[in-house]
Subunit: 415 residues, 2 copies
């Protein structure tokens, strides 16, 4: 019983807040959990972790839940790290891997953050939660809230992928459609907080989603035998995962579990149609100006303004990485290319990473021998609207008993 | 190098065939792989397996691939076994679990069988494969074939869920739509085999899918600390998984890794609209008559005639289980119930299992204290057509900046 968390901290000014109370933000900016890492070091070893069940709770000493009975789990974590030789050959890279987060509950990386947020919400007595979402976060929160017996309200843009909407309906969440973007969803949600007394699970307004997302970095370290890769390509909307991984690497270094001198270069990938972090990076700013008229096929990247912008940009710069934008028109092409070479159905957000990586590899900024990891943050199968755009123009439709000239069909289809 | 497979065997008459050659069926009926189990026992222990990576290849001594370099893997296996207390309470069961196969590559249990079939196909020099499918098998085969660089042809009914079709398109498979059922797909496929020289990966016409599916049983044994559950509820279309698990338990008993006297009762679950195995079971037959006018929302159960009917029925009877049909009208209701209680989005095929289980628990044929495992064989998110039927009749649609009477909304939505 009890966690190793000592307090919550505001990264901008170091203010400390009590983690045993329900907290959201400090002066409008995110809070992060701090741990008694020397005590963690005494409590557990990498060898002990290796013997635990293959889910993210294997790192429980580095997670914020106080009482195991509050854990709300659907078996999330330890997503596979898949070697991609054929794609690597195409891009001129010898050591390319995809960490496939589509193999998590509800088919996306959002399960990591939301299992943690909902577990802590349960622990702190919350009975109603709400979230603004560009898509997969809503489905994940709704699922964990259902399992915890907590009432869930999900605010999503009207043009959110259909599957995200209906997966929320299925688990009994209240879905509110908003004729706008995720920022508008957040504003409407907050307009109801006083009346509805819901706990706001927005990205980085809730302090523990980042702790769940950080397990991507912990797993990656363990899967690479505690030697971090050279470069990480991560699709960046709200950026919690990138911030979380960077925090994970810092904690692992403090624990002495990885070499402190060696960190991956972090590449925050966005799409041209909504690239506030890229613009902030290029302008040398610490805070990113909201991106006007955001529009991209990669619905998860439709985040014009990120509360943790400075945390993303700090991590990218400290790591000697970059924030880069993919060409909007390239996304479906990369989805097809990666799928046909590797059998991995990338979400459009992760296709953006491949476009960025291809350009950097071409320019020699990622080198052939470097160990490079791309995150597939969700199952392409959830993006029906995008996938129907990948259907072939012509279809072969047959009746039972039809006589088919297979040689002709083959000639037309396999040319 | 090398596997522990000794030969392929026809279960009906014991005929032995060479596993080092490409094989399909014997006298029109399935073949199964046999192993040198005493040698396996000398080669590996349960403790060694426990230390391996969390995917199905941890059981490699019980799998048919000869050379590790031929393994085509997307990181499949070790799907979570999730405790379901709230659903259990609803059904009057104290020890209910769902093994969630939606957390596999391509979002379904079909990944297990097809990774094995494609690995062996590659090993034996196949360059073109074809499959008839009710849905998820096509998507899985297409993905693994793409990764292996093997050309894939997928035959599916025109009313197969949209996502199954577009996931095949995405990876570059040739999709043939058939105005009929899976049996018609198979017949058309076989009409092209001579001209096209494709290797037929149909359920049980290919001998290794069953070896992949058998890992569900191996994992379940390991996850239950090598003590098998009392009852297993499995959605049964072609039945490979049920046959595979039964074979796994037999092999584990021969290895001395489980108690030979204790096997789970196996429940083959179908839907009223297509229940050939149930009818065969009730009539006391060993071979099931094809089911006329098959129609059910559970697209994966639209299998009017299963090549392995006798193997399914043998296993069900030996285990003292049963084959039972779910009420067609119950399926979406159970999907909603399970999702809202547990956060697990069951596919309609698995909802059929819950309906069967509910009836048997009600009648006392499954008892409160018994450890009961239900397989969720695929992600509900892939069944868009079914899920849109679960949407609420009314939607709240808001404009940015709208003034909302939250109390009224709450009154209407949370009554």
């Amino acid at each position: 019983m009890g966690s190793f968390v000592t307090h919550l901290e505001a990264p901008l000014d170091g203010t400390r807040l009590d983690h045993r109370a329900l907290q959201t933000v400090h002066a409008g900016r995110p809070l992060v959990a701090r741990y008694d890492l020397p005590a963690v070091r005494r409590a557990v070893s990498r060898e002990q972790i290796a013997r635990r069940a293959p889910n993210l709770w294997r790192y429980r000493e580095l997670l914020p839940v106080e009482d195991e009975r509050n854990v709300v789990s659907l078996g999330e974590g330890m997503s596979p790290l898949v070697r991609c030789e054929r794609l690597g050959e195409r891009l001129g890279l010898d050591d390319l891997w995809i960490k496939d987060e589509s193999q998590l509950p509800t088919g996306s990386f959002k399960a990591r953050g939301l299992c943690m947020a909902i577990s802590r919400a349960r622990e702190l007595g919350v009975t109603r939660v709400a979230i603004p979402t560009a898509g997969n976060a809503g489905g994940a929160m709704a699922a964990y809230a259902a399992r915890a017996g907590i009432e869930a309200w999900v605010f999503m843009p009207v043009d959110t992928p259909l599957v995200n909407r209906v997966e929320c309906d299925l688990v009994g969440a209240r879905v509110v459609l908003v004729e706008g973007l995720i920022g508008d969803c957040g504003a409407l949600l907050r307009s109801g907080t006083e009346a509805m007394q819901w706990f706001d699970c927005s990205t980085l307004r809730e302090p523990y989603r980042i702790e769940g997302k950080k397990t991507m970095g912990l797993e990656l370290a363990e899967q690479c035998d505690w030697r971090l890769p050279d470069a990480i390509f991560y699709p960046t909307g709200g950026g919690t995962g990138l911030i979380g991984m960077w925090k994970a690497f810092d904690e692992l270094a403090q624990l002495g579990w990885i070499d402190d001198e060696r960190r991956p270069r972090m590449f925050a990938c966005q799409a041209e149609g909504c690239a506030p972090i890229v613009r902030g990076f290029e302008r040398g700013e610490r805070f990113a100006e909201p991106f006007a008229n955001a529009h991209t096929l990669a619905s998860g990247l439709r985040v014009p303004s990120a509360l943790g912008d400075f945390m993303i940009l700090d991590a990218v710069r400290e790591s000697h990485g970059a924030a880069c934008a993919a060409g909007e028109a390239s996304l479906t092409g990369w989805m097809r290319t990666v799928a046909s070479l590797e059998g991995i159905a990338l979400c459009p957000e992760s296709a953006a990473c491949i476009d960025v990586l291809a350009k950097l590899a071409e320019r020699g900024e990622v080198r052939r021998h470097e160990r490079t990891v791309v995150f597939n943050t969700g199952a392409a199968q959830k993006y029906v609207e995008v996938l129907t755009g990948c259907e072939p123009a012509r279809r072969l439709v047959l009746r039972p008993g039809a006589a088919v000239d297979w040689k002709r069909v083959s000639g037309e289809w396999c040319a």
